[in-house]
């Protein structure tokens, strides 16, 4: 699967999720993978990009509007994963919702 999200012409929305894992990461990788698979099936899902290095990760998911972001936020399985994240997996996170206004691409020849 392509690591880059194949997003459409702006405007659209980005959820920028930065997180630091706690020392108790048991079950995290499996749940994270499951959540991405579930997000991909949600109405309006536009794409996902992610990287983690020494416990600090940035994941960006892309959506057409704020309504689709709210719907995904409130999905029952996602709610349970969020709760587990706060109780167990994350020592800290930031979640920023942003409206993408410009999009530039480069591919080496």
């Amino acid at each position: 699967m392509d690591l880059f999200a194949d997003t459409p012409e702006p405007p659209f929305y980005a959820v920028i999720f930065s997180s630091m894992l706690s020392r108790d990461s048991d079950g995290y990788a499996k749940m994270a993978e499951h959540m991405v698979a579930l997000a991909r099936k949600r109405p309006g899902f536009l794409g996902f990009e992610s990287a983690r290095e020494d416990g600090f990760g940035i994941s960006v998911s892309y959506w057409p509007d704020e309504a689709s972001i709210r719907q995904w936020r409130d999905h029952l399985d996602h709610r349970m994963a969020q709760k587990m994240g706060r109780e167990k997996w994350y020592s800290a996170y930031r979640l920023r919702v942003a409206r993408v206004e410009r999009d530039n691409r480069f591919e080496a020849e």
Copy 2:
């Protein structure tokens, strides 16, 4: 240094830069470090977060407005680094400019 950007209350701007390194990464790490140090001194700079995993990285820099983003984009040293990036270091990238509208935080107790 804190890995999280200590951004102010929204609205502000995010530059979401996703990139895949090429096989020729000679000099990349040093230049990337230099660019972050230089960005931190730019007027209006609000913060920076970054992670790279198996060559695929996401860096997000935060700015108060589009004017400060343009000024940093057009900085001479940064222009030279961008050129090197396209000619040598990156096999592909996406650069998305977004207006942050909401910001949620979590810190484990």
